[in-house]
C-alpha cells in the first residue's frame, strides 16, 4: 500500500464511523416501525438523499480538482448529461436503471472527448474552459428540442419512493467515498497527487500524465453522471435552467474547498456542513442563502484555503494556494522570466 502521511484511524474512530453508517442505514426502518415519531419522515429522508448526492458529487469533483489539481468550474456539466441522458432514454420507454447507466456512460464519453483538449490547459484556463462548457451545454440542450424537449423540458415517468432513493443514494455515497479512499491508497492516487504537485517533473520521471489525468476526469464524469440520473428520476421533471443552474457547479468547488481539497474526508465534511447550513441556518433566510454562499466562498478562499480537514491537521490534502502557487507547475516549455533563467 502507499502510505498517506496521516496515522491510520484509531479503533475508536472506526467504531464511531461504523455506528454512524448503521444509524443512517436504519433510518427508513425506524420510520416504518415507529410511524408516529416526527423526526424521521419522508421529507427528512428526501432531505438526506439530497445530502448524499452532494457528498457524492463533491467527492467526484475532488478527484479532478483536489487530487489532480485541475479545478473544474464546470463539473456539473456531467450531472446535466447524466440527467438528460436518463430522461431521454426513459422517454424511449427504457426502464430506469439502464437509462441511468446510459446517461452516465454518455457523460463519461463526453469527458473522454473534451478531456484531451481541455486538460492541456493550465489552471485558470482549464477552469474557465469548463465553465464555458457548462454554459454551452445548457444552450445545446435548449437547442436540441426534438431530443431534449428544449426550453420546455422533459418529464420522466413519476416514481415516488423516498426510502428507495434514500438507500440508493446512501449506498452510492458510501461506495464513492470508499472508491476515493481506495484510490488515495493506490499508486493511481499517488500518481495523481504527483501530477498535481509537479506535472512536468512527473512527466520527466516517466509518468504518462495525459492518460492519468484523463482517467481521473472520465471516472469523475461517469460517477457524476450517475448522480444526475438519480436526481432526474427523483425530480421527475428536468429543464435546461433547472439542471444547468449555475450554482450547481460552483457549490461543488466551495464544498470541496471548505472540507479540504485533496483529502478523502474533505468532500464529506464540506458537503455535509454546507448542507446543514442550508437546511438549518439559512432555511429562515430563504432567498438569501445563495448570496450568503457567494460570500462564504470569498471568505473560505481568503481565510481558510486549506479547509476544515486541513485545519484539523490532515496532511495529505492541499490548499488552493499551493495548487496554483507552486512554481514547479509551470510548464517547462514556456519562457522563464528573466530573473529565473539558469543555464
Amino acid at each position: 500500500m502507499t502510505v498517506p502521511p496521516n496515522r491510520p484511524p484509531t479503533k475508536s474512530r472506526l467504531v464511531l464511523l461504523v455506528a454512524l453508517l448503521v444509524v443512517l442505514a436504519a433510518l427508513p426502518i425506524v420510520m416504518t416501525v415507529f410511524p408516529d415519531q416526527t423526526w424521521v419522515t419522508n421529507s427528512r429522508l428526501f432531505s438526506f438523499t439530497q445530502m448524499f448526492m452532494l457528498i457524492t458529487l463533491t467527492s467526484n469533483w475532488n478527484l479532478t480538482g483536489g487530487f489532480t489539481g485541475y479545478v473544474d468550474f464546470g463539473h456539473a456539466v456531467f450531472f446535466g448529461i447524466g440527467a438528460y441522458g436518463t430522461g431521454i432514454f426513459m422517454n424511449e420507454a427504457w426502464p430506469f436503471w439502464p437509462s441511468m447507466l446510459a446517461g452516465a456512460v454518455l457523460a463519461a464519453v463526453f469527458a473522454l472527448i473534451i478531456g484531451y483538449p481541455t486538460l492541456r490547459l493550465k489552471g485558470p484556463y482549464f477552469s474557465i474552459a469548463m465553465l464555458g462548457m457548462f454554459v454551452a451545454m445548457r444552450e445545446i440542450v435548449r437547442v436540441a428540442k426534438p431530443l431534449t424537449g428544449g426550453g420546455v423540458g422533459l418529464t420522466l415517468p413519476p416514481y415516488l419512493n423516498r426510502p428507495l432513493f434514500y438507500y440508493v443514494t446512501f449506498f452510492l455515497a458510501v461506495l464513492v467515498v470508499g472508491i476515493m479512499w481506495w484510490i488515495r491508497r493506490s499508486e493511481f492516487g499517488a500518481t495523481l497527487i504527483a501530477i498535481r504537485e509537479d506535472e512536468v517533473g512527473a512527466e520527466m520521471r516517466g509518468i504518462n500524465t495525459t492518460v492519468n489525468k484523463i482517467a481521473a476526469f472520465v471516472l469523475a464524469g461517469f460517477l457524476t453522471g450517475i448522480v444526475g440520473g438519480l436526481w432526474a428520476y427523483q425530480n421527475t421533471f428536468i429543464d435546461p435552467d433547472g439542471v444547468f443552474f449555475p450554482s450547481r457547479t460552483v457549490e461543488l468547488v466551495m464544498m470541496a474547498m471548505l472540507g479540504g481539497l485533496g483529502t478523502v474526508a474533505g468532500p464529506v465534511v464540506g458537503a455535509t456542513t454546507i448542507y446543514w447550513m442550508r437546511d438549518v441556518v439559512w432555511a429562515n433566510l430563504a432567498e438569501w442563502h445563495l448570496f450568503a454562499e457567494g460570500m462564504l466562498m470569498i471568505l473560505i478562499v481568503l481565510y481558510a484555503p486549506q479547509g476544515i480537514m486541513g485545519k484539523l491537521g490532515d496532511r495529505s490534502g492541499t490548499s488552493l494556494l499551493r495548487v496554483w502557487r507552486n512554481p514547479l507547475r509551470r510548464s517547462a516549455l514556456e519562457e522563464v522570466p528573466e530573473d529565473e533563467v539558469s543555464v
Binding site: 502507499t2 493506490s186 499517488a190 504537485e197
Partner: protein, 249 residues
C-alpha cells in the same frame, strides 16, 4: 579494442531562445559506466543542455542518441522509459507525498496499463522503494511527507527517485548544491557505489570542483553555450581558456 557504442551521444546540439543561443553545436559523449562532469560558469548552458537531453526542451539543431537510438524528438516520459533519469537544479520532489510514495511513484512505468495502477501496490515496488530509502540512509523518514525534509535530505530523495527505474544513466544537476559537507560526502559515496557496484553511468553538472575531481573520469567545460574544453579533471583545471572563462584574464 572493439568500438563500444556510447551510452549517450550528442552531436551538434543547439538550442535557441529567441535570439539567444543557449547551447551552441555541442558534441559530447558518455560511455557506459563512466562518470562524466559538465562544468562552466553561470549562464553557460548546462541546465539547458540537460533539459534538452531529458526532452523538456526542444532541440533546434543536432541530434542526441541514447544507447544508439535517436531520442531527439521523443517525449520526456518516453526518454525516462528508455533508462535515463535525472535530478534537478531546483529540487523537485512531491511535497505532499511521503518518501515512500515519492519512491513508488517514480518507478519504472513502461509497459504498465492504468488498471494495474489501481491495485494497492506492487510488493516488489514497495520492497525496492524501501531498499533504496535504506541505501540512502533515510529510513527514519519513510512515512513523512517529503515537504518536511531538509534540503539535503530532499536531494538524497531525488537521487533515490532517479534510481527507482533502475536507469543506465543518471543526469545529476547540481546534486551537491545547498547541502552541508557531510551530506555531500554521503552523496559522493552513494554515487561511487552505484557506479562501481552496479555499473551505472552519470553525467554530473556541478560547481564544486572537489566534487568533480573526486568523482569524474572526464569533464566537459561549457562557456556561453559552447564546448570550451574537455579532458580529465586535472587537465581541465589547468587549461588556460577555462581559467580565463571562470576568472577573467
Amino acid at each position: 579494442m572493439s568500438a563500444v557504442t556510447p551510452l549517450l551521444e550528442g552531436r551538434g546540439v543547439t538550442k535557441r531562445f529567441g535570439g539567444l543561443e543557449a547551447v551552441k553545436a555541442v558534441d559530447f559523449k558518455v560511455m557506459p559506466n563512466e562518470i562524466v562532469g559538465l562544468i562552466g560558469p553561470n549562464g553557460s548552458g548546462k541546465t539547458t543542455l540537460f533539459d534538452c537531453l531529458s526532452r523538456v526542451q526542444a532541440i533546434d539543431e543536432g541530434s542526441v542518441h541514447f544507447q544508439g537510438i535517436d531520442i531527439t524528438r521523443l517525449k520526456p516520459h518516453q526518454v525516462a522509459h528508455m533508462g535515463m533519469s535525472r535530478t534537478f537544479q531546483v529540487i523537485r520532489v512531491y511535497r505532499k507525498l511521503t518518501l515512500l510514495e515519492n519512491m513508488q511513484v517514480s518507478r519504472q512505468w513502461r509497459g504498465e496499463n492504468l488498471w494495474s495502477q489501481m491495485r494497492p501496490s506492487h510488493k516488489d515496488v514497495e520492497e525496492r522503494s524501501r531498499d533504496l530509502i535504506n541505501f540512502l540512509r533515510l529510513e527514519h523518514l519513510t512515512n513523512e511527507p517529503a515537504g518536511t525534509l531538509s534540503g539535503g535530505q530532499r536531494r538524497l530523495l531525488e537521487l533515490g527517485m532517479a534510481l527507482m527505474p533502475d536507469p543506465e544513466l543518471i543526469l545529476l544537476d547540481e546534486a551537491a548544491s545547498g547541502i552541508n559537507p557531510t551530506l555531500v560526502e554521503e552523496i559522493k559515496d552513494r554515487i561511487k557505489t552505484l557506479n562501481q557496484e552496479q555499473g551505472k553511468a552519470f553525467l554530473v553538472v556541478e560547481h564544486d570542483m572537489h566534487f568533480i575531481s573526486d568523482l569524474c573520469n572526464r569533464v566537459y567545460v561549457l562557456n556561453y553555450g559552447e564546448k570550451l574544453a574537455e579532458g580529465t579533471p586535472a587537465e581541465v583545471m589547468e587549461n588556460e581558456a577555462v581559467i580565463e572563462a571562470y576568472f577573467g584574464s
